[in-house]
């Protein structure tokens, strides 16, 4: 099963980067764009706008909305046209005094109206380039169409709002392994979610975060049952137990259990008292 939301974010972000092997230059990188994520911008009327990605370069700037939601993002993208470009300098980005190019980033086609769209599932596709003002951006995106996006590097964020169960489980594995550090005191579910959200932790809206916390807590409870007494929940934290001794066999056991946990979706077996 694909990692939808993380794949979307990863493959979009890496379009702003360059890697020597096996030879990849993201189109935004090629056009000289630098980016920031989850920025707070205002319109000239003082209305708040929070595009997922804002980027600017020598010949223009762009706002990107990333989504796996099947409904159209046209109204939101329309509203980004009113963003005052002077707020770009709050984020160390080049100020370009014109309305932004507006784009949606998706894993499959959805009609987002008169806005350019990049489909970043595995091969890059660019739709409705004609709505881009920046000729340079249009050209580099056209050149980049057909690029293989399957082997691009991970990004440091491992949890996102609206993730599905299998995505959440995969996003938690390294954080869970950290619970077995020497003298580790354990972590609350909020701390674990914040770690996974990384730089999004402080800016995510409370409702989305609360949903994610509930989901993560439930999934970690299922993991506790699977780890045969090496991990437990107590005093408000998930932590290692006295059964854990740092040894390569124990590490191998934990890795095997995590692999098992990430390979299967939540089932009734994970929740012996009846599930959600």
């Amino acid at each position: 099963m694909p990692d939808d939301r993380l794949t979307l974010w990863r493959n979009t972000i890496q379009l702003f980067h360059k890697y020597n092997r096996p030879g990849f230059v993201g189109p935004f990188r090629k056009a000289g764009y630098r980016y920031r994520i989850e920025t707070l911008m205002l319109t000239r009327n003082g209305d708040e706008r929070t595009p997922d990605i804002v980027a600017s370069g020598p010949q223009g700037w762009v706002t990107l909305e990333l989504t796996t939601n099947p409904s159209s993002k046209e109204p939101q993208l329309d509203s980004y046209k009113d963003i005052d470009p002077r707020y770009l300098s709050n984020y160390g980005l080049e100020m370009v005094d014109q309305p932004p190019d507006t784009m949606s980033g998706r894993l499959s086609d959805v009609n987002d109206g008169r806005h350019c769209q990049i489909i970043v599932k595995d091969i890059l596709r660019v739709i409705k380039k004609e709505f881009l003002q920046s000729e340079r951006l249009r050209d580099v995106l056209a050149e980049a169409e057909g690029t293989d996006l399957d082997h691009l590097p991970s990004i440091p964020i491992s949890l996102l709002p609206e993730m599905k169960v299998h995505e959440v489980r995969k996003g938690l594995v390294d954080i869970v392994m950290g619970l077995f550090a020497p003298n580790a005191e354990g972590k609350s579910v909020v701390e674990i979610v914040d770690e996974g959200l990384e730089r999004l932790a402080d800016i995510l809206n409370p409702k989305d975060k609360s949903r994610l916390i509930t989901l993560v807590e439930r999934e970690l409870e299922s993991l506790v049952r699977l780890t045969d007494g090496y991990m437990e929940y107590g005093d408000g934290v998930f932590h290692q137990t006295a059964k854990w001794k740092e040894h390569h066999r124990s590490k191998e056991f934990i890795v095997a259990k995590l692999k098992q946990w990430t390979s299967r979706l939540s089932t009734l077996e994970d929740f012996p008292e009846g599930g959600e």
Binding site: Y19, N20, S154, G178, E195, V255, T262
Partner: protein, 344 residues
């Protein structure tokens, strides 16, 4: 008793001069040579992290310390003035010194060696006053089964190639394919050697010969400052954007063997990782760096890797993994960010 920075310099100067005299007279040195260990400290306080031997006492100069144990002092001196990159000077013999420092770094949370890339170690290559006098190369073939490992370890000093036809070509080839573990340099001033130093990939330097203590401290400081600049740049890149650091390897990696080793958290790389996506020539791993128990993500191809350090993980992991993996299994390893070399 050593109480001032001036005392420290006099002491080091005496050691340098003593070794110069015995070198001139007998062709070898008898006193322990000055060593310095570049230690990366994540905002630590010297008095709180403890001392490899005894306890730290401040000197008159800010951020300088001398160790004291059982009423004796003056075998170790610590300069923490740079903040992130400490310089630990030692006048103990190599075995004792290395052992104490290894234990101190390994057992103290927030301390790590400074891991020097080949470009750091070849820093003075184009300088008119410095000559490269030799290199140590290393390749452990750590991913192969023990009985099949193709270990390679070579130290070659300048001049050896004239005695064996083809040796220079072999050394050039080996240097292109394997990791540089050590590099020996000589500084020539007014026609004679003023410094002879051997740098190691874990940030240690041995001063084999030195004429002036201030010149020696400046030489060591140059490497320390360069390393700190590289760390600062890498930290900024990590904080501003979400790109990954890229390693390019000279050797191909056996991805199955890598996966098996990191699943158990064994081996010199000291990584404990779960393979989360798998293709024949590309794997994604998530897990921990057991030096610090920080999280990291590693995406591995046959001859390259992408390293992502989430959260507040220490950026020093970037050069560390490059150096350790290079010496263990990947050979010559270059580090890039957005296609440009870093830690260079």
């Amino acid at each position: 008793m050593i109480e001032t920075l001036r005392d420290v310099k006099k002491y080091i100067q005496a050691a340098l001069e003593g070794n110069e005299e015995s070198l001139q007279a007998f062709g070898k040195t008898y006193l322990a040579q000055l060593k310095c260990y570049l230690v990366e400290s994540a905002g630590q306080d010297a008095r709180r992290v403890g001392c490899p031997s005894g306890a730290w006492f401040p000197l008159d100069a800010p951020d300088w310390y001398v160790n004291e144990e059982n009423g004796q002092n003056g075998s170790l001196f610590l300069d923490t003035s740079q903040g992130r990159v400490w310089r630990l000077y030692s006048l103990l013999d190599a075995v004792e010194s290395d052992g104490l420092v290894e234990k101190w770094v390994r057992n103290t949370v927030g301390l790590d060696y400074c891991w020097l890339s080949r470009y750091h170690m070849l820093r003075w290559e184009h300088s008119g006053t410095w000559q490269l006098r030799g290199m140590g190369l290393r390749f452990s073939d750590g991913l192969a089964p023990i009985d099949e490992q193709g270990n390679f370890s070579l130290k070659a000093w300048h001049g050896a190639s004239q005695y064996l036809k083809g040796l220079q070509e072999l050394l050039d080839d080996a240097s292109d394919n394997f990791a540089i573990h050590s590099a020996r340099w000589q500084k020539i001033s007014n026609g004679s050697v003023s410094i002879s130093s051997e740098w190691y990939s874990n940030g240690k330097v041995t001063i084999n010969r030195g004429v002036d203590v201030d010149e020696v401290l400046a030489h060591i400081g140059e490497m320390a400052f360069r390393y700190q600049d590289a760390l600062n740049l890498a930290s900024e890149l990590r904080e501003e954007e979400l790109g990954a650091f890229e390693f390019n390897f000279a050797q191909e990696i056996d991805l199955d063997a890598f996966s098996g080793i990191v699943a158990r958290g064994i081996g010199k790389m000291r990584l404990w990782m779960l393979e989360v996506e798998s293709e024949p020539h590309f794997r994604r791993f998530k897990g921990l760096d057991l030096h610090t128990w920080d999280r990291l993500f590693l995406d591995l191809g046959d001859d390259f890797a992408y390293l992502t350090i989430p959260g507040k993980g220490c950026i020093n992991a970037v050069p560390r993994i490059a150096v350790v993996q290079g010496e263990d299994n990947s050979g010559k390893t270059d580090i890039f960010y957005n296609g440009e070399q870093v830690f260079a």
